[in-house]
Symmetry: C2
Subunit: 236 residues, 2 copies
DNA sequence: CGGACGTTTCGGCGCCGGCCGAACCGTCCG
DNA sequence: CGGACGGTTCGGCCGGCGCCGAAACGTCCG
Protein backbone atom coordinates (compact mmCIF):
# COMPACT_ATOMS: atom_id res chain seq x y z
CA UNK A 1 0.00 0.00 0.00
CA UNK A 2 2.99 2.23 0.54
CA UNK A 3 4.11 1.41 -3.00
CA UNK A 4 1.12 1.84 -5.26
CA UNK A 5 1.23 0.98 -8.91
CA UNK A 6 1.94 4.27 -10.69
CA UNK A 7 0.04 3.09 -13.73
CA UNK A 8 -3.08 2.52 -11.68
CA UNK A 9 -2.72 5.98 -10.21
CA UNK A 10 -2.38 7.56 -13.62
CA UNK A 11 -5.27 5.55 -15.04
CA UNK A 12 -7.54 6.56 -12.19
CA UNK A 13 -6.56 10.18 -12.55
CA UNK A 14 -7.32 10.13 -16.26
CA UNK A 15 -10.64 8.37 -15.80
CA UNK A 16 -11.63 10.84 -13.10
CA UNK A 17 -11.62 13.56 -15.73
CA UNK A 18 -14.43 11.74 -17.54
CA UNK A 19 -16.19 10.71 -14.36
CA UNK A 20 -18.27 13.80 -13.82
CA UNK A 21 -21.51 14.44 -15.60
CA UNK A 22 -20.78 18.08 -16.31
CA UNK A 23 -17.35 17.38 -17.71
CA UNK A 24 -18.71 14.46 -19.71
CA UNK A 25 -21.37 16.70 -21.24
CA UNK A 26 -18.66 19.19 -22.23
CA UNK A 27 -16.45 16.55 -23.75
CA UNK A 28 -19.29 15.05 -25.74
CA UNK A 29 -20.20 18.50 -27.02
CA UNK A 30 -16.59 19.09 -28.03
CA UNK A 31 -16.68 15.86 -30.01
CA UNK A 32 -17.91 18.02 -32.88
CA UNK A 33 -14.23 18.87 -33.33
CA UNK A 34 -14.77 22.60 -33.02
CA UNK A 35 -13.72 25.11 -30.39
CA UNK A 36 -16.30 26.28 -27.86
CA UNK A 37 -16.08 29.20 -25.51
CA UNK A 38 -16.31 28.61 -21.79
CA UNK A 39 -19.66 30.34 -21.54
CA UNK A 40 -21.14 28.29 -24.36
CA UNK A 41 -20.14 25.16 -22.52
CA UNK A 42 -21.54 26.51 -19.26
CA UNK A 43 -24.90 27.15 -20.92
CA UNK A 44 -24.79 23.73 -22.59
CA UNK A 45 -24.04 21.94 -19.34
CA UNK A 46 -26.37 24.03 -17.24
CA UNK A 47 -23.91 25.13 -14.58
CA UNK A 48 -22.54 28.46 -13.40
CA UNK A 49 -19.70 30.01 -15.35
CA UNK A 50 -17.46 29.78 -12.34
CA UNK A 51 -18.10 26.07 -11.99
CA UNK A 52 -17.38 25.45 -15.61
CA UNK A 53 -14.20 27.46 -15.52
CA UNK A 54 -12.79 25.07 -12.97
CA UNK A 55 -13.87 22.04 -14.99
CA UNK A 56 -12.22 23.36 -18.12
CA UNK A 57 -9.04 24.12 -16.21
CA UNK A 58 -8.90 20.53 -14.98
CA UNK A 59 -9.49 19.15 -18.46
CA UNK A 60 -6.76 21.34 -19.90
CA UNK A 61 -4.36 20.44 -17.11
CA UNK A 62 -5.14 16.78 -17.74
CA UNK A 63 -4.24 17.11 -21.41
CA UNK A 64 -7.72 16.39 -22.71
CA UNK A 65 -8.35 19.90 -24.00
CA UNK A 66 -6.23 22.64 -25.48
CA UNK A 67 -7.14 26.26 -25.14
CA UNK A 68 -6.74 29.32 -27.29
CA UNK A 69 -7.35 32.67 -25.73
CA UNK A 70 -8.70 35.38 -27.96
CA UNK A 71 -9.41 38.67 -26.27
CA UNK A 72 -11.81 38.04 -23.45
CA UNK A 73 -12.81 34.64 -24.79
CA UNK A 74 -11.35 31.29 -23.84
CA UNK A 75 -11.76 28.89 -26.68
CA UNK A 76 -11.29 25.25 -25.94
CA UNK A 77 -11.22 22.12 -28.11
CA UNK A 78 -10.29 18.45 -27.80
CA UNK A 79 -6.52 18.15 -27.59
CA UNK A 80 -6.06 15.67 -30.45
CA UNK A 81 -7.46 12.71 -32.33
CA UNK A 82 -6.31 10.32 -29.62
CA UNK A 83 -8.48 12.02 -27.04
CA UNK A 84 -11.40 12.04 -29.43
CA UNK A 85 -10.95 8.33 -30.07
CA UNK A 86 -10.85 7.55 -26.39
CA UNK A 87 -14.01 9.53 -25.90
CA UNK A 88 -15.67 7.70 -28.77
CA UNK A 89 -14.65 4.38 -27.29
CA UNK A 90 -16.10 5.25 -23.92
CA UNK A 91 -19.28 6.57 -25.48
CA UNK A 92 -19.65 3.48 -27.65
CA UNK A 93 -19.34 1.26 -24.60
CA UNK A 94 -22.12 3.17 -22.96
CA UNK A 95 -24.62 3.74 -25.71
CA UNK A 96 -26.10 0.26 -26.01
CA UNK A 97 -28.17 0.90 -22.90
CA UNK A 98 -29.23 4.31 -24.13
CA UNK A 99 -32.55 2.89 -25.26
CA UNK A 100 -34.59 5.70 -23.75
CA UNK A 101 -36.97 7.38 -26.13
CA UNK A 102 -36.60 11.12 -26.50
CA UNK A 103 -39.33 12.95 -24.65
CA UNK A 104 -39.93 16.13 -26.56
CA UNK A 105 -40.57 16.66 -30.26
CA UNK A 106 -37.66 19.07 -30.42
CA UNK A 107 -35.28 16.54 -28.90
CA UNK A 108 -36.68 13.90 -31.20
CA UNK A 109 -36.16 15.91 -34.37
CA UNK A 110 -32.70 17.02 -33.27
CA UNK A 111 -31.95 13.38 -32.58
CA UNK A 112 -33.12 12.25 -35.98
CA UNK A 113 -30.99 14.89 -37.68
CA UNK A 114 -28.03 13.58 -35.71
CA UNK A 115 -28.89 10.01 -36.69
CA UNK A 116 -29.08 11.04 -40.35
CA UNK A 117 -25.64 12.59 -40.49
CA UNK A 118 -23.16 14.17 -38.13
CA UNK A 119 -19.50 14.67 -37.52
CA UNK A 120 -17.68 12.50 -35.05
CA UNK A 121 -14.72 14.71 -34.10
CA UNK A 122 -13.23 14.98 -37.57
CA UNK A 123 -14.98 12.32 -39.64
CA UNK A 124 -18.51 11.51 -40.79
CA UNK A 125 -20.96 9.45 -38.75
CA UNK A 126 -24.62 8.53 -38.61
CA UNK A 127 -26.38 7.01 -41.63
CA UNK A 128 -24.25 9.28 -43.81
CA UNK A 129 -21.03 7.91 -42.36
CA UNK A 130 -22.26 4.34 -42.65
CA UNK A 131 -23.44 4.85 -46.22
CA UNK A 132 -20.07 6.17 -47.29
CA UNK A 133 -18.23 3.41 -45.46
CA UNK A 134 -20.46 0.75 -47.01
CA UNK A 135 -20.04 2.24 -50.45
CA UNK A 136 -16.26 2.26 -50.11
CA UNK A 137 -16.36 -1.34 -49.01
CA UNK A 138 -18.75 -2.45 -51.75
CA UNK A 139 -16.46 -0.93 -54.38
CA UNK A 140 -13.43 -2.72 -53.00
CA UNK A 141 -11.79 0.46 -51.78
CA UNK A 142 -11.94 -0.48 -48.13
CA UNK A 143 -11.28 -3.84 -46.50
CA UNK A 144 -13.45 -4.62 -43.48
CA UNK A 145 -13.54 -8.39 -43.22
CA UNK A 146 -9.97 -8.90 -42.04
CA UNK A 147 -9.48 -5.67 -40.18
CA UNK A 148 -9.97 -2.15 -41.42
CA UNK A 149 -7.64 -0.96 -44.14
CA UNK A 150 -7.63 0.85 -47.46
CA UNK A 151 -6.95 -1.29 -50.52
CA UNK A 152 -4.72 -0.35 -53.45
CA UNK A 153 -7.85 0.70 -55.29
CA UNK A 154 -8.84 2.75 -52.25
CA UNK A 155 -5.59 4.67 -52.28
CA UNK A 156 -6.06 5.32 -55.98
CA UNK A 157 -9.64 6.48 -55.42
CA UNK A 158 -8.63 9.07 -52.86
CA UNK A 159 -5.90 10.32 -55.20
CA UNK A 160 -8.22 10.52 -58.20
CA UNK A 161 -10.88 12.32 -56.16
CA UNK A 162 -8.28 14.90 -55.22
CA UNK A 163 -8.48 14.10 -51.53
CA UNK A 164 -5.00 14.21 -50.08
CA UNK A 165 -4.01 11.69 -47.45
CA UNK A 166 -1.02 12.94 -45.59
CA UNK A 167 0.38 10.63 -42.99
CA UNK A 168 1.45 12.49 -39.93
CA UNK A 169 2.54 10.96 -36.67
CA UNK A 170 1.25 7.53 -35.82
CA UNK A 171 -2.36 8.07 -36.76
CA UNK A 172 -3.58 5.15 -38.90
CA UNK A 173 -4.77 5.83 -42.43
CA UNK A 174 -7.97 3.89 -41.86
CA UNK A 175 -9.56 3.05 -38.55
CA UNK A 176 -12.95 1.76 -37.47
CA UNK A 177 -15.06 3.96 -35.21
CA UNK A 178 -18.19 2.40 -33.75
CA UNK A 179 -21.27 4.39 -34.69
CA UNK A 180 -23.54 5.17 -31.75
CA UNK A 181 -26.75 5.28 -33.66
CA UNK A 182 -26.10 2.58 -36.26
CA UNK A 183 -24.18 0.19 -34.01
CA UNK A 184 -21.78 -0.51 -36.84
CA UNK A 185 -18.26 0.71 -37.62
CA UNK A 186 -17.67 3.67 -39.89
CA UNK A 187 -14.48 5.05 -41.40
CA UNK A 188 -12.22 7.12 -39.16
CA UNK A 189 -8.48 7.79 -39.14
CA UNK A 190 -6.64 9.98 -41.64
CA UNK A 191 -8.85 8.87 -44.53
CA UNK A 192 -12.06 9.50 -42.59
CA UNK A 193 -10.89 12.94 -41.59
CA UNK A 194 -9.78 13.86 -45.10
CA UNK A 195 -13.08 12.72 -46.56
CA UNK A 196 -15.08 14.71 -44.03
CA UNK A 197 -12.97 17.80 -44.57
CA UNK A 198 -13.39 17.47 -48.31
CA UNK A 199 -17.14 17.02 -47.95
CA UNK A 200 -17.48 20.18 -45.91
CA UNK A 201 -15.03 22.18 -48.02
CA UNK A 202 -16.71 21.35 -51.31
CA UNK A 203 -20.22 21.76 -49.98
CA UNK A 204 -21.27 18.12 -50.17
CA UNK A 205 -22.50 18.67 -46.61
CA UNK A 206 -23.24 21.67 -44.48
CA UNK A 207 -23.54 21.87 -40.72
CA UNK A 208 -27.00 22.29 -39.27
CA UNK A 209 -27.01 25.17 -36.84
CA UNK A 210 -24.13 25.13 -34.45
CA UNK A 211 -24.34 21.49 -33.53
CA UNK A 212 -22.72 18.34 -34.81
CA UNK A 213 -25.49 17.39 -37.21
CA UNK A 214 -24.82 17.82 -40.92
CA UNK A 215 -27.10 17.82 -43.94
CA UNK A 216 -26.18 16.50 -47.39
CA UNK A 217 -26.73 19.09 -50.11
CA UNK A 218 -28.09 18.38 -53.58
CA UNK A 219 -24.57 18.73 -54.97
CA UNK A 220 -23.40 16.34 -52.31
CA UNK A 221 -25.99 13.73 -53.25
CA UNK A 222 -24.87 13.95 -56.85
CA UNK A 223 -21.19 13.72 -55.99
CA UNK A 224 -21.65 10.80 -53.62
CA UNK A 225 -23.64 8.94 -56.24
CA UNK A 226 -21.20 9.68 -59.05
CA UNK A 227 -18.06 8.88 -57.10
CA UNK A 228 -19.24 6.07 -54.84
CA UNK A 229 -22.65 5.00 -56.04
CA UNK A 230 -24.30 6.06 -52.80
CA UNK A 231 -28.06 6.06 -53.29
CA UNK A 232 -29.77 9.16 -51.92
CA UNK A 233 -32.27 6.96 -50.14
CA UNK A 234 -29.53 5.66 -47.84
CA UNK A 235 -29.13 9.16 -46.48
CA UNK A 236 -32.74 9.74 -45.49
CA UNK B 1 -30.26 21.41 -15.88
CA UNK B 2 -33.47 19.59 -15.08
CA UNK B 3 -33.02 17.58 -18.30
CA UNK B 4 -29.48 16.28 -18.34
CA UNK B 5 -28.04 14.47 -21.30
CA UNK B 6 -28.49 10.76 -20.51
CA UNK B 7 -25.40 9.92 -22.51
CA UNK B 8 -23.27 12.23 -20.40
CA UNK B 9 -24.71 10.62 -17.28
CA UNK B 10 -23.92 7.15 -18.52
CA UNK B 11 -20.45 8.11 -19.66
CA UNK B 12 -19.63 9.67 -16.30
CA UNK B 13 -20.96 6.64 -14.49
CA UNK B 14 -18.82 4.31 -16.59
CA UNK B 15 -15.70 6.43 -16.20
CA UNK B 16 -16.24 6.60 -12.45
CA UNK B 17 -15.67 2.85 -12.31
CA UNK B 18 -12.12 3.40 -13.60
CA UNK B 19 -11.58 6.56 -11.59
CA UNK B 20 -10.41 4.99 -8.36
CA UNK B 21 -6.88 3.83 -7.84
CA UNK B 22 -7.84 0.59 -6.12
CA UNK B 23 -10.32 -0.37 -8.82
CA UNK B 24 -7.84 0.64 -11.51
CA UNK B 25 -5.20 -1.61 -9.97
CA UNK B 26 -7.67 -4.51 -9.98
CA UNK B 27 -8.68 -3.95 -13.57
CA UNK B 28 -5.08 -3.75 -14.73
CA UNK B 29 -4.32 -6.97 -12.89
CA UNK B 30 -7.31 -8.63 -14.54
CA UNK B 31 -5.93 -7.62 -17.91
CA UNK B 32 -4.07 -10.91 -17.82
CA UNK B 33 -7.37 -12.41 -18.96
CA UNK B 34 -7.64 -14.82 -16.07
CA UNK B 35 -10.02 -15.03 -13.14
CA UNK B 36 -8.84 -13.77 -9.75
CA UNK B 37 -10.41 -14.36 -6.39
CA UNK B 38 -11.53 -11.41 -4.34
CA UNK B 39 -8.88 -11.98 -1.70
CA UNK B 40 -6.11 -12.18 -4.29
CA UNK B 41 -7.20 -8.82 -5.61
CA UNK B 42 -7.38 -7.40 -2.10
CA UNK B 43 -3.82 -8.45 -1.44
CA UNK B 44 -2.70 -7.14 -4.79
CA UNK B 45 -4.33 -3.76 -4.25
CA UNK B 46 -3.35 -3.53 -0.61
CA UNK B 47 -6.79 -2.91 0.87
CA UNK B 48 -9.03 -4.75 3.32
CA UNK B 49 -11.11 -7.61 2.00
CA UNK B 50 -14.27 -5.76 2.90
CA UNK B 51 -13.23 -2.74 0.91
CA UNK B 52 -12.38 -4.82 -2.09
CA UNK B 53 -15.64 -6.69 -1.92
CA UNK B 54 -17.51 -3.46 -2.44
CA UNK B 55 -15.27 -2.46 -5.33
CA UNK B 56 -15.77 -5.76 -7.07
CA UNK B 57 -19.52 -5.52 -6.61
CA UNK B 58 -19.54 -2.12 -8.25
CA UNK B 59 -17.45 -3.36 -11.16
CA UNK B 60 -19.72 -6.33 -11.68
CA UNK B 61 -22.83 -4.17 -11.45
CA UNK B 62 -21.28 -1.81 -13.98
CA UNK B 63 -20.75 -4.64 -16.44
CA UNK B 64 -16.95 -4.47 -16.41
CA UNK B 65 -16.48 -7.78 -14.65
CA UNK B 66 -18.28 -11.09 -14.59
CA UNK B 67 -18.21 -13.35 -11.58
CA UNK B 68 -18.24 -17.06 -11.07
CA UNK B 69 -18.83 -18.33 -7.60
CA UNK B 70 -17.22 -21.58 -6.63
CA UNK B 71 -17.77 -22.66 -3.09
CA UNK B 72 -16.60 -19.96 -0.80
CA UNK B 73 -14.58 -18.28 -3.54
CA UNK B 74 -15.69 -15.46 -5.76
CA UNK B 75 -13.82 -15.58 -9.03
CA UNK B 76 -13.95 -12.50 -11.17
CA UNK B 77 -12.67 -11.70 -14.65
CA UNK B 78 -13.01 -8.98 -17.27
CA UNK B 79 -16.46 -9.21 -18.79
CA UNK B 80 -15.37 -9.39 -22.44
CA UNK B 81 -12.89 -8.27 -25.05
CA UNK B 82 -14.60 -4.90 -25.39
CA UNK B 83 -13.90 -4.08 -21.77
CA UNK B 84 -10.32 -5.25 -22.14
CA UNK B 85 -9.88 -3.06 -25.19
CA UNK B 86 -11.28 -0.02 -23.42
CA UNK B 87 -8.92 -0.65 -20.56
CA UNK B 88 -6.00 -0.98 -22.95
CA UNK B 89 -6.96 2.26 -24.64
CA UNK B 90 -7.11 4.12 -21.35
CA UNK B 91 -3.82 2.61 -20.22
CA UNK B 92 -2.15 3.48 -23.51
CA UNK B 93 -3.26 7.07 -23.19
CA UNK B 94 -1.67 7.22 -19.79
CA UNK B 95 1.58 5.34 -20.18
CA UNK B 96 3.61 7.88 -22.17
CA UNK B 97 4.17 9.88 -19.00
CA UNK B 98 5.11 6.79 -17.01
CA UNK B 99 8.79 7.54 -17.41
CA UNK B 100 9.59 6.78 -13.79
CA UNK B 101 12.35 4.27 -13.23
CA UNK B 102 11.56 1.26 -11.08
CA UNK B 103 13.05 1.60 -7.60
CA UNK B 104 13.79 -1.90 -6.38
CA UNK B 105 15.71 -4.67 -8.06
CA UNK B 106 12.77 -6.98 -7.70
CA UNK B 107 10.42 -4.53 -9.39
CA UNK B 108 13.03 -3.95 -12.05
CA UNK B 109 13.43 -7.63 -12.90
CA UNK B 110 9.69 -8.20 -12.80
CA UNK B 111 9.37 -5.21 -15.10
CA UNK B 112 11.94 -6.53 -17.54
CA UNK B 113 10.22 -9.92 -17.68
CA UNK B 114 7.00 -8.08 -18.50
CA UNK B 115 8.78 -6.03 -21.14
CA UNK B 116 10.19 -9.19 -22.69
CA UNK B 117 6.88 -10.94 -23.12
CA UNK B 118 3.44 -10.87 -21.54
CA UNK B 119 -0.20 -11.36 -22.29
CA UNK B 120 -2.46 -8.40 -22.89
CA UNK B 121 -5.88 -9.81 -21.99
CA UNK B 122 -5.92 -12.57 -24.60
CA UNK B 123 -3.07 -11.77 -26.97
CA UNK B 124 0.72 -11.42 -26.84
CA UNK B 125 2.48 -8.18 -25.96
CA UNK B 126 5.91 -6.87 -25.03
CA UNK B 127 8.93 -7.53 -27.23
CA UNK B 128 7.48 -10.97 -27.95
CA UNK B 129 4.22 -9.48 -29.24
CA UNK B 130 6.07 -6.89 -31.29
CA UNK B 131 8.45 -9.49 -32.75
CA UNK B 132 5.56 -11.66 -33.87
CA UNK B 133 3.66 -8.71 -35.30
CA UNK B 134 6.74 -7.48 -37.15
CA UNK B 135 7.44 -10.95 -38.51
CA UNK B 136 3.88 -11.30 -39.78
CA UNK B 137 4.17 -7.91 -41.44
CA UNK B 138 7.58 -8.59 -42.97
CA UNK B 139 6.29 -11.79 -44.53
CA UNK B 140 3.30 -10.03 -46.06
CA UNK B 141 0.80 -11.77 -43.80
CA UNK B 142 -0.36 -8.62 -42.04
CA UNK B 143 -1.02 -5.20 -43.54
CA UNK B 144 -0.11 -2.27 -41.28
CA UNK B 145 0.48 0.68 -43.57
CA UNK B 146 -3.13 1.30 -44.55
CA UNK B 147 -4.84 0.10 -41.42
CA UNK B 148 -4.46 -3.22 -39.70
CA UNK B 149 -5.69 -6.27 -41.55
CA UNK B 150 -4.73 -9.81 -42.45
CA UNK B 151 -3.79 -10.40 -46.07
CA UNK B 152 -4.82 -13.40 -48.18
CA UNK B 153 -1.44 -14.91 -47.42
CA UNK B 154 -2.06 -14.21 -43.75
CA UNK B 155 -5.33 -16.13 -43.76
CA UNK B 156 -3.57 -19.01 -45.49
CA UNK B 157 -0.73 -18.94 -42.95
CA UNK B 158 -3.09 -19.27 -40.00
CA UNK B 159 -4.86 -22.14 -41.72
CA UNK B 160 -1.61 -23.94 -42.56
CA UNK B 161 -0.31 -23.48 -39.03
CA UNK B 162 -3.46 -25.12 -37.75
CA UNK B 163 -4.61 -22.04 -35.87
CA UNK B 164 -8.35 -21.68 -36.27
CA UNK B 165 -9.83 -18.22 -36.66
CA UNK B 166 -13.49 -18.34 -35.84
CA UNK B 167 -15.37 -15.14 -36.26
CA UNK B 168 -17.84 -14.65 -33.52
CA UNK B 169 -19.80 -11.51 -32.92
CA UNK B 170 -18.42 -8.28 -34.23
CA UNK B 171 -14.90 -8.69 -33.01
CA UNK B 172 -12.45 -7.82 -35.80
CA UNK B 173 -10.10 -10.50 -37.10
CA UNK B 174 -7.11 -8.19 -36.74
CA UNK B 175 -6.82 -5.12 -34.60
CA UNK B 176 -3.97 -2.94 -33.43
CA UNK B 177 -3.31 -2.71 -29.71
CA UNK B 178 -0.78 -0.15 -28.58
CA UNK B 179 2.03 -1.75 -26.63
CA UNK B 180 2.80 0.00 -23.34
CA UNK B 181 6.45 -0.88 -23.20
CA UNK B 182 7.32 -0.77 -26.89
CA UNK B 183 5.12 2.20 -27.84
CA UNK B 184 4.19 0.44 -31.07
CA UNK B 185 1.10 -1.49 -32.13
CA UNK B 186 0.94 -5.25 -31.81
CA UNK B 187 -1.59 -7.74 -33.12
CA UNK B 188 -4.88 -8.07 -31.23
CA UNK B 189 -8.38 -9.12 -32.26
CA UNK B 190 -9.43 -12.68 -33.10
CA UNK B 191 -6.12 -13.47 -34.79
CA UNK B 192 -4.09 -12.15 -31.88
CA UNK B 193 -6.12 -14.15 -29.41
CA UNK B 194 -5.91 -17.34 -31.46
CA UNK B 195 -2.16 -17.00 -31.83
CA UNK B 196 -1.68 -16.45 -28.11
CA UNK B 197 -3.91 -19.37 -27.22
CA UNK B 198 -2.02 -21.58 -29.65
CA UNK B 199 1.32 -20.44 -28.22
CA UNK B 200 0.28 -21.33 -24.69
CA UNK B 201 -1.45 -24.56 -25.69
CA UNK B 202 1.48 -25.91 -27.66
CA UNK B 203 4.09 -24.79 -25.15
CA UNK B 204 5.74 -22.11 -27.28
CA UNK B 205 5.37 -19.95 -24.18
CA UNK B 206 4.69 -20.57 -20.52
CA UNK B 207 3.46 -18.17 -17.90
CA UNK B 208 5.97 -16.98 -15.33
CA UNK B 209 4.54 -17.44 -11.86
CA UNK B 210 1.01 -16.22 -11.52
CA UNK B 211 1.48 -12.92 -13.30
CA UNK B 212 1.04 -11.76 -16.85
CA UNK B 213 4.63 -12.24 -17.90
CA UNK B 214 5.40 -15.16 -20.23
CA UNK B 215 8.63 -16.84 -21.22
CA UNK B 216 9.37 -18.32 -24.64
CA UNK B 217 10.48 -21.95 -24.40
CA UNK B 218 13.20 -23.56 -26.52
CA UNK B 219 10.49 -25.26 -28.56
CA UNK B 220 8.81 -21.91 -28.95
CA UNK B 221 11.96 -20.27 -30.25
CA UNK B 222 12.32 -23.02 -32.82
CA UNK B 223 8.70 -22.82 -33.91
CA UNK B 224 8.69 -19.06 -34.17
CA UNK B 225 11.84 -19.16 -36.27
CA UNK B 226 10.58 -21.94 -38.52
CA UNK B 227 7.12 -20.54 -39.05
CA UNK B 228 7.79 -16.82 -39.04
CA UNK B 229 11.52 -16.31 -39.17
CA UNK B 230 11.57 -14.67 -35.77
CA UNK B 231 15.18 -14.43 -34.57
CA UNK B 232 15.65 -15.51 -30.98
CA UNK B 233 17.61 -12.35 -30.31
CA UNK B 234 14.48 -10.27 -30.82
CA UNK B 235 12.98 -11.95 -27.80
CA UNK B 236 15.73 -11.14 -25.32
C1' DC C 1 -20.23 -30.93 14.87
C1' DG C 2 -16.89 -27.26 15.13
C1' DG C 3 -13.16 -24.55 13.63
C1' DA C 4 -10.97 -22.26 9.69
C1' DC C 5 -11.49 -19.39 6.06
C1' DG C 6 -13.32 -16.50 2.20
C1' DT C 7 -16.67 -13.16 1.73
C1' DT C 8 -20.21 -9.72 2.85
C1' DT C 9 -22.73 -6.25 5.52
C1' DC C 10 -22.84 -2.40 8.46
C1' DG C 11 -21.64 1.71 11.03
C1' DG C 12 -18.71 5.36 11.33
C1' DC C 13 -15.02 8.40 9.98
C1' DG C 14 -12.66 11.66 7.05
C1' DC C 15 -11.71 13.68 2.83
C1' DC C 16 -12.35 15.10 -1.70
C1' DG C 17 -14.78 17.39 -5.11
C1' DG C 18 -18.74 19.76 -7.27
C1' DC C 19 -21.66 23.57 -6.68
C1' DC C 20 -22.85 28.40 -6.01
C1' DG C 21 -22.59 33.53 -5.38
C1' DA C 22 -19.77 37.45 -4.70
C1' DA C 23 -15.94 39.90 -5.71
C1' DC C 24 -12.45 40.78 -8.91
C1' DC C 25 -9.76 41.14 -13.32
C1' DG C 26 -9.26 42.12 -18.46
C1' DT C 27 -11.06 43.16 -22.72
C1' DC C 28 -14.15 45.33 -25.75
C1' DC C 29 -16.74 49.17 -27.38
C1' DG C 30 -19.59 53.18 -27.36
C1' DC D 1 -13.53 57.16 -19.70
C1' DG D 2 -17.07 54.05 -18.16
C1' DG D 3 -20.26 50.40 -18.63
C1' DA D 4 -20.97 45.74 -20.40
C1' DC D 5 -19.34 41.33 -20.63
C1' DG D 6 -16.49 36.99 -20.48
C1' DG D 7 -13.76 34.69 -17.37
C1' DT D 8 -11.50 33.61 -12.86
C1' DT D 9 -10.74 33.23 -7.89
C1' DC D 10 -12.27 32.49 -3.35
C1' DG D 11 -14.89 30.98 0.61
C1' DG D 12 -18.25 28.04 2.19
C1' DC D 13 -21.60 24.39 1.93
C1' DC D 14 -22.90 19.76 1.12
C1' DG D 15 -23.02 15.08 -0.52
C1' DG D 16 -20.72 11.12 -2.01
C1' DC D 17 -17.32 7.83 -1.63
C1' DG D 18 -13.32 5.16 -0.04
C1' DC D 19 -11.54 3.30 3.97
C1' DC D 20 -11.55 0.38 8.08
C1' DG D 21 -12.83 -3.05 11.76
C1' DA D 22 -16.33 -5.81 13.81
C1' DA D 23 -19.69 -8.91 13.26
C1' DA D 24 -22.26 -12.11 10.57
C1' DC D 25 -22.79 -15.53 6.86
C1' DG D 26 -21.65 -19.73 4.03
C1' DT D 27 -18.70 -23.21 2.69
C1' DC D 28 -15.26 -26.54 3.38
C1' DC D 29 -13.01 -30.06 5.92
C1' DG D 30 -11.21 -32.61 9.74
Amino acid sequence: MTTRDPQATALARLAALFADETRAACLLALLDGRAWTASELARHAGVAASTLSEHVSRLVAGGLLTEERQGRHRYVRLADARVAQLLEDLAAQVTPERAERPRTLRASSAGSAMARGRTCYDHLAGRLGIAVTDALTARGLLEQERGFALTDAGLAWFASAGIGLERRGRRPLARACLDWTERRPHLAGVAGAALCRHALDTGWCVRIGSERAVRVTAAGERALFDLLGVEAVALR
